[in-house]
Symmetry: C2
Subunit: 104 residues, 2 copies
DNA sequence: GCTATAGATAAGCAGATACTTATCTATCAG
DNA sequence: CTGATAGATAAGTATCTGCTTATCTATAGC
């Protein structure tokens, strides 16, 4: 839930890959594992780190667990990044375009 | 320069503190150290990690080195984060306000 | 009940991290 | 040249990470 936990969680490529996979909807652990060349326990451990950082939520359904992105989880990163906005040169233009697009 | 290097660099509180300090202008290593309860070599090592991640630039001036934030350094983080925009609920409102303010 | 499957937990280990003290290099002041 | 200072580098070490295999728990189907 704090910046350190979140940045540490995001520092691992396999964990970012897990988040990536959740972009297109809920997944269970086995689905999250696809494409990652690590064992089932390793996935479980990564998921625990992501959950601890507040980045994913889980919902038990029988013997399956459905994992999903936690909507507010990345907010501290955005907040942190915003403090450095003076150092986002032309990226700001891209963001403006993005927000305009989102308005439609 | 890649996401992993950047997130790893940001995962350490002392390194984030160094960046924080650079928000109000160039500093030399001794100034960066103020407030951090770590040795001079530790600061030097953190600075090396931040430089390696492309987050700070340095300019030698005699026996001093002036460190500053590297403007483009955080762009990959912003880009990464943008992919999760659907999960930024009301934060978007804050950003819109911010960008409007920057237009003035 | 028995067996299979989803996922978590335990234990162990190799490599990475963050720190320390000691030392080195380079510039500056006299 | 000499001594002091800014900063980097070297070497050593305790702790943390990310992984593995083995095992455990819990649900589901028969």
């Amino acid at each position: 839930m704090n910046e350190t936990d979140i940045f540490r969680a995001l520092a691992d490529p396999n964990r970012r890959a897990v988040l990536e996979r959740l972009l297109d909807g809920e997944k269970n652990a086995t689905e999250l594992r696809e494409g990652l060349r690590i064992s089932q326990p390793a996935v479980s451990q990564h998921v625990a780190v992501l959950r601890g950082a507040g980045l994913i939520a889980e919902k038990k359904e029988g013997r399956h667990v459905r994992y999903s992105l936690a909507p507010e989880g990345l907010a501290p990163v955005l907040d942190w990044l915003t403090r450095y906005r003076a150092y986002w040169p032309e990226r700001v233009e891209r963001l403006k375009a993005l927000l305009k697009e989102m308005d439609q």
